[in-house]
Structures are given as structure tokens and as C-alpha cells.
């Protein structure tokens, strides 16, 4: 359980996180989605007690992070997979964590196996790890203390599609056992594949939040029929807004069941009927990304 209340973080005149409030619930995987520089990482660092907030607060398991006793046993952090001493072996990184948390060395072996690093790879120095291997090491480190909450910043970065699927399964299983997961990403399809709940952040502000279904729904209905003109007319008669799409078929601002009823009443044969694409979320996200890209160019 993570609670963020009216959190603001300013760096001089720049506001990285602007009056953000949300809750991350146990038993779910919550995705924190936003373009690079939107404030995801800053918000996560404040939650982890590494960056002081300018105002507002964040609590994990009902307490400020710094008040958690032996926090590694309560919260698993992966804030930057590359933030590891290049001269240590992967196994040594995990061993140091295990000693500090007091979890015993057998846990290190278990985590190495869990993320599929071979014995040889675990004994290699982190300097020689690919980004994907660093991510796996970071996930192993986050899970080391058997935490109740996971805070993962861009954990899927550097993983291939199979790796993303593996992580989805892992986090799903973890959440099913009552764990709380917050993971960030700047890629919509990554979040779509992993998260149950989505919080979209842009320019430090939350622009949308809700369950994945809620956010992806509300996109109307896409349908094709043997006689689109007749269907268009029939829908208009029911004052349902619909329009042709450039690729053929109709985009209708109504639920599929209503479209089906109208078609049935007029005996129009439908060849396709489904919920519309997640254009709403995608467009909103693309706008955010475009803004960020423009700012980068301007800067």
C-alpha cells in the first residue's frame, strides 16, 4: 500500500512533481505511465525517502519510508538498474543486501535462480552485464527481502518481449499473493501488458488514472456491415453518433451491444463488431510525449 498526498517537488523554478495524489493498492499491479521527464522517477524517489518533498507527503505501508524498520524487508526498490558498483559481481551485490536485511545467503541463490542468471553470470562483474541482465539483477535485489511492496522504475527497459512477459507473470503472481506493485514506464504498450491500474503523469501532474479497462474503454465501437450506409442511417435515427473510418467500417460512439441491437432491428448483417481501439489513452499519451519532445527541442 502506497499513499501519495498532494506531493510537490520543486527544483528552483522547475516543478518536477506538481500536487500529485494517488493510491497504490495491494493485490494489483499499478502502472505509472508518462513520457521521459514527466516526474515518475522523482515521485518514486520521494516515496523511497531518497528525495525530500517540497510539500505534501508519501507513505508506504502507512508510514513515511524512513520510519520503516529494516525497509528492505518491507519494500523492494529498483530505482535504477545501472546504479550498481561496476566492480562487484552480481552475486556480491545480492550478498551485501542479504547481509544487511538479515535474510541469509540461501536467499541469494534462490533469487539468482528466480531471475534466471546462471552461476557463471552471477559471478561476473556488473560492468560486463547487459542492461537486461542488470534489470534482472535489480529485480532479484528488490525481491530479496520478501517485501510487501515493490517500487520499480522502468524495470522492463532492456528486456525483450519474452522478458516483459516473464515480468508480467512474475508481478501478477506476486500481486495475487497480496503484494503491492508500482512500476513505471514510458511505453504505453508495456504498461498495457503488465498493469491492472494505470496512473498517467505528464509535466509532473496526473492526467488520468483508473483501471486499465476504464482507461482503455470509452473508445466506442468499431463495426463493419454488409451495408454501412443503412447502418449509419439507422444509428442516426437513434441519435447515435457514428462516422466512417478512412479504412472502411464505422466508428460509433456507443457500446457494442447498442450497435448490435440497432443492426438487429434493421436486419443489417454485421461482419465485425468490437470495442473501439484505445485511441483515447493513446492520443492523450502521444500528446504528452509530443509536448515533452518539443520542450527538449526548445531547450
Amino acid at each position: 500500500m502506497i499513499t501519495v498526498e498532494r506531493l510537490t517537488k520543486r527544483y528552483g523554478p522547475f516543478t518536477a512533481v506538481d500536487d500529485v495524489s494517488f493510491e497504490v493498492k495491494p493485490g494489483l499491479v499499478t502502472g505509472f505511465l508518462g513520457p521521459n521527464g514527466a516526474g515518475k522517477t522523482t515521485a518514486m524517489r520521494v516515496m523511497s525517502g531518497l528525495t525530500p518533498a517540497s510539500s505534501g507527503r508519501a507513505t508506504v505501508l502507512g508510514k513515511p519510508y524512513a520510519a520503516l524498520p529494516n525497509p528492505g524487508r518491507h519494500v523492494g526498490l529498483l530505482l535504477d538498474a545501472s546504479a550498481q558498483h561496476a566492480g562487484r559481481t552480481g552475486r556480491e551485490v545480492l550478498t551485501l543486501g542479504a547481509i544487511l536485511m538479515g535474510v541469509g545467503k540461501h536467499r541469494v541463490d534462490e533469487m539468482v535462480e528466480l531471475v534466471g542468471l546462471t552461476e557463471k553470470e552471477a559471478n561476473r562483474r556488473v560492468r560486463n552485464y547487459s542492461l537486461g541482465m542488470r534489470q534482472r539483477l535489480g529485480i532479484a535485489h528488490a525481491l530479496l527481502g520478501d517485501p510487501e511492496v515493490l517500487i520499480l522504475d522502468e524495470p522492463a527497459n532492456g528486456l525483450d518481449p519474452a522478458g516483459i512477459r516473464w515480468m508480467r507473470d512474475l508481478l501478477r503472481g506476486y500481486a495475487n499473493e497480496g503484494g503491492t506493485v508500482l512500476l513505471s514506464s514510458h511505453l504505453l504498450n508495456e504498461i498495457e501488458r503488465v498493469a491492472d491500474e494505470i496512473i498517467v503523469i505528464g509535466h509532473g501532474r496526473i492526467v488520468a488514472q483508473g483501471t486499465k479497462d476504464e482507461l482503455l474503454a470509452g473508445a466506442g465501437t468499431y463495426t463493419r456491415s454488409t451495408d454501412d450506409d443503412a447502418l449509419l442511417g439507422a444509428l442516426a435515427a437513434q441519435s447515435i453518433v457514428a462516422q466512417r473510418t478512412p479504412t472502411g467500417g464505422l466508428q460509433v460512439e456507443a457500446e457494442p451491444i447498442e450497435v448490435g441491437r440497432v443492426a438487429a432491428a434493421h436486419q443489417i448483417v454485421l461482419t465485425e463488431l468490437r470495442g473501439g481501439d484505445s485511441r483515447g489513452l493513446e492520443e492523450m499519451f502521444l500528446d504528452l510525449t509530443a509536448d515533452a519532445a518539443r520542450e527538449e527541442v526548445a531547450a
Binding site: T51, P52, D80, L96, E110, D146, W166, Y174
Partner: protein, 283 residues
């Protein structure tokens, strides 16, 4: 429609020796640890243990120690053959202590600055958010390394002196003044504490190392050119205030001078450095 084979029957591709291992095909949920989650914080001894280990488990850390060992070995060998090996225990001790006093502060500096340069601070301060305890653990474990090193310096000097007596037939000279011993030990330990302090102050390896090594020299050069700096140096130049220790006697004023210089170069950087460390944003 593409036919997919189930993972169980999929042929395993031969792996080249450098290929990265693939992730397991199915994700396992990590097992639960037995017992309740801890309600008490990380014990300080564990922090010390980890900080001590971190100083020695990297290549940089190990090479520094190997470097010190090599310099000591060379110094002792030269002394052993120079002048028929006729040197007192005190002189041998000087040879074993010097390299440690010069290089071990770098271990102290790296213990702090690597948290920022290698960005391991994200993990360190994530696992122990009470940063002041991390700061103390770093200082004390660095000093523990210093104590162990000084004990080793004593032992090596003793062995070298005894070897010279046995094999080169020199006259035994084991006498050593308590103050000289204090001076030699202090030289090593204060240097380390200063290194840790500078590391915390600068949070940056090159800056801390350069300032640590350049400042005393610059101070001495300036001191010889500017007269009022010369008199200030009597109170503030640690190189100078420590000298009387090695001659074996200190006046009250000399003790005060020693205390003043140690406050300036060791206590002050540490105090300000710890203050900075507890407030800095970890990135």
C-alpha cells in the same frame, strides 16, 4: 494462423559460451521468508559488517591494498640490504606505516564517494534511510581497517627487525617511545578519518582525492612564502603539528596546536560532511 509449439517441446537452441542466459520460460513467485517481518531496524553491527565488506570486495579496494603491500615489501627489502640492515625497530615501523598512512585515506574517500559515483547510494540509503547511521558505519569501519593495518604494520616491522638481527647480525634496538607509537597510529587513523570526511564533503572521487593530496602541499608552499601564514601553520598545518609526536615529547602548547589542526582538518570536514550526507538528494 501460426502454429506454436509448447515451450516444453521446443528445441533448445545451442548457446554460444558468451550468450546471455535467457529468462526462465515461466515466472516463479518468490518464496515467502519464514517468520514475521522485522519490527526493529537494521542493527548497527550489520551496517558495519556491510560497509567493511564493501571496502574490500571491489577491484579498486583490493588493488589499493595490494599496492600498499607491494610498497611495504619493497621498502623493507631495501632497508634489509641497505647499511647491512642496521636500522632500529622504530625505523622499520616508519617504513611499514608510511605507505599505509598515504594510501589508506583513499580507501576512506572511496568508501563514501563510490556511493555517488557508482550510484550505489540508491541502494544503500534505500536499505537504511537513517543516513547518519550509514555515515558512522562508514567512518568506524574505515577506522577498523586502519587499526588492523596498523597492527599489521607493527607485526611486519617486528618481523623485519628480527630478521635483520637473525640473518644480518645487527644489534637489536627494540626501544620505542609511547608517543612515537601514538604518532604513528594517529598518522594512519587521522588520515583515514580525514579521507572519509573529505569524501562526504565533496561526494566526488577525483575532487576529494586531489584536494586531500594537494592541500597540505599547497599549504606548505604558501606557508614558506607568506610570513603570517607561516605562524598560522604552526597551529593549522597537521603535517607540522604531528612532528613533535615523533620526537617523543610534547609541550602543552604543542598538544593544543595538534588539537587545533586536527579539529580543522579532521573534525570539521567530518561534521560538515555528515551534515551534507544526511541532507543530500540521492540520485
Amino acid at each position: 494462423m501460426i502454429t506454436t509449439t509448447s515451450p516444453a517441446t521446443a528445441p533448445v537452441a545451442p548457446m554460444s559460451p558468451n550468450a546471455e542466459s535467457s529468462l526462465p520460460t515461466t515466472a516463479k513467485v518468490p518464496s515467502r521468508l519464514a517468520g514475521p517481518r522485522p519490527a526493529i531496524g537494521v542493527p548497527f553491527t550489520r551496517l558495519m559488517h556491510v560497509e567493511l565488506r564493501k571496502m574490500l570486495d571491489t577491484r579498486a579496494g583490493r588493488w589499493l591494498l595490494v599496492g600498499i603491500a607491494a610498497i611495504i615489501a619493497i621498502a623493507l627489502t631495501i632497508m634489509f640490504f641497505n647499511d647491512g640492515g642496521q636500522h632500529s625497530f622504530e625505523e622499520y615501523l616508519q617504513a611499514t606505516t608510511m605507505p599505509m598512512a598515504i594510501i589508506l585515506p583513499v580507501v576512506g574517500i572511496l568508501a563514501v564517494t563510490s556511493e555517488w559515483s557508482q550510484r550505489t547510494g540508491l541502494v544503500t540509503f534505500g536499505l537504511e534511510p537513517r543516513r547518519i547511521r550509514v555515515a558512522w558505519a562508514k567512518l568506524l569501519s574505515a577506522l577498523a581497517v586502519g587499526v588492523a593495518a596498523f597492527a599489521l604494520a607493527l607485526a611486519l616491522a617486528g618481523i623485519a627487525h628480527q630478521a635483520a638481527i637473525t640473518f644480518r647480525g645487527i644489534t637489536a634496538d627494540w626501544g620505542i617511545d609511547g608517543l612515537v607509537l601514538l604518532g604513528a597510529g594517529g598518522y594512519v587513523l587521522l588520515g583515514i578519518a580525514q579521507g572519509v570526511g573529505f569524501g562526504m564533503l565533496f561526494k566526488n572521487t577525483p575532487a576529494a582525492i586531489v584536494v586531500y593530496f594537494i592541500l597540505p602541499t599547497a599549504w606548505s608552499i604558501l606557508g614558506s612564502m607568506v610570513s603570517w601564514l607561516e605562524s598560522a601553520a604552526e597551529w593549522l598545518d597537521m603535517q607540522r603539528t604531528m612532528q613533535p609526536l615523533f620526537s617523543g615529547s610534547l609541550t602543552g602548547e604543542q598538544w593544543a596546536q595538534l588539537g587545533t589542526s586536527v579539529s580543522l582538518w579532521v573534525v570539521l570536514p567530518l561534521a560538515f560532511g555528515i551534515w551534507r550526507l544526511t541532507r543530500a538528494e540521492v540520485k
